[in-house]
Assembly symmetry: C2
Homo-oligomer: 344 residues x 2
Amino acid sequence: MKRNSTIDDVARAAGVARVTVSRVLNNGANVRPETRERVRRAMQELGYSVNQQARALASGMAREIMLIHAHSPELEPNSYYNAGLELGALRGCSALGFDLVTRAVDPEEKNRFRQLSSILDGQRPAGLILSPPLSDDIEFIETARRAGVQVVAVSAGEQARSSVLAVGIDERSAGRLVGAHLASLGHRRIGFIKGPPEHRAAALRYDGFLDALREAGIDDEPWTMTGDFTFKSGVEAAEQLLRESVPVTAIACANDDMAAGAMLALHRARLDIPEAISVTGFDDTPMSEIVWPPLTTVRQPIKDLAERAVHLLVEHQSKGGVHNDLLPFELIVRESTSRPTARA
Amino acid sequence: MKRNSTIDDVARAAGVARVTVSRVLNNGANVRPETRERVRRAMQELGYSVNQQARALASGMAREIMLIHAHSPELEPNSYYNAGLELGALRGCSALGFDLVTRAVDPEEKNRFRQLSSILDGQRPAGLILSPPLSDDIEFIETARRAGVQVVAVSAGEQARSSVLAVGIDERSAGRLVGAHLASLGHRRIGFIKGPPEHRAAALRYDGFLDALREAGIDDEPWTMTGDFTFKSGVEAAEQLLRESVPVTAIACANDDMAAGAMLALHRARLDIPEAISVTGFDDTPMSEIVWPPLTTVRQPIKDLAERAVHLLVEHQSKGGVHNDLLPFELIVRESTSRPTARA
DNA sequence: CACCAAAATGGAAGCGCTTCCATCGAGCAT
DNA sequence: ATGCTCGATGGAAGCGCTTCCATTTTGGTG
């Protein structure tokens, strides 16, 4: 029955005191480089890894990180996105010896600030992870900070990113990537189904999209429609477009759900995808491989975002400060996009 | 800055020693009922909750639970199912102060027993969560037990359920529910797309399905085809059925992915769902709401299964024994099923 | 070369809990 | 009554780590 080695084993092996090992562990100051190295080597040889439980217990710091996701009663929850965030956050917490507490708050609720304050008061978490559109709600963020809780905003817009810890992707570049893809295929008349205006990240995606069109010499304002990220709103937006007989050869959507909805509307209207109209999504949810045809979309590392958020929170414990982490994204080209057929 | 109350606070409030509170906490023996009650009340009043970190540290038990999911290189991983399991397991671990370690093992790999042994040897987890088809691999389970690790089988077949801890749903009844639904709508000729034979739970679903048909007076063997749970295999199975011109009015599938595949094949063949053919799935993945038409399916509480699995593992620590937890499931009737039209 | 601040290191306490062992009565047979 | 067992309770140690403070070492200065 092999017992994991402890900090004392390392200390003994390195010929130093336990405290010194602890300092090395926490990148503490006042350790001579050679001592540090010796301790490092001892850790290596013993295959040592810290016991997060013990660490958390000793340091006595709050052991909880709170994940708040938006959940309006009317809107169906974006289960994939939220599940991904929770999964990532849990992984991060697990690795760092924290507990995750998940809460839902209605972003429309007038009362949400008071609500947050009372939650924070009861729990005193070590940090708060906010997802859109809460991560763009500056007043909400400020309420949390006033309560002395470190905040990290996930996929937030520029304002939030410049005032608290943040993780996300370069939304604007991601949007540009989609626009460039469509433009390079030869599409000139493109429709865009946007997300809700409070969702700053989606707005940035749209800006990037416009950039790409402009760079490709397409200066006409594209036809746009605003959805609320649900499948249903995608259906409705596309139906609206068909009703108006807008002559587009491609429709870009601010997320996959709306793209799937749009595809359904097009299917119903007996329009072939991508022959008649190309469609793009955003997020690369599992659904994008299931719909027909498989959806061209942007893969966003949702789990990694949340995991990173936890680390950020722990690293910047009480240091306050602004830190903006951008994670990589990727355009996944599938069969829902092709060059426009010479017809429209 | 409110500090959470500790076991000592409770002890003081109840006028007993710390140990006694600990005994109450762990349902230990040798505490007089009235003392127990007094302690309980004190806990209540102080809003006490155990510090799992401290508990885990003190009890010195392994702090890790290992989730092993099957992952063959050829087969696309069932991301929704696996993500759900991981999410649930993480929640459970988080609540109980355990860490979750996730591993993937190829169930086809001859070498998997040795592989498992070496993993277990290195990590010594407090328990092992096995998902199908590994949870039906008796020899695999035995290997783990021989290494002295408690095992819980998720969604396993009867053999595994009778030899280790297990959580799942009553697969047979769930299958019966689907069969009864279809039969009650008036379908007499029904096709069934099965899962792989090693997947015992899927086989049970099929048995239950047959039971229902028999109960409805349908004694003909239904037309069946075996898939591997992938979207693609669903497409192929349905195409096979169409090629053979089997005169079914409904197709039941062992999971949602195959159902979605079958639907695609039917769409391509210009068959309307549910007018020409009804389709059912199993699992209620998010996809079932996205496909067109929305899929009638059985909702299985995947996250809860995994969460329960963790609890089982911890409760039965070193007690060995067999325990079979059945969680509730639910038939979700959507638009992919209707009475057969008077045509076939 | 003595002197001192600053850097490097170590000792000890304690986080909240469990576990091991000792203690204390009560109830029972002798 | 006396001795014993057994159920109920408490004392003390310690899990692996951090933190506070004391101590030793270093290297720069006059």
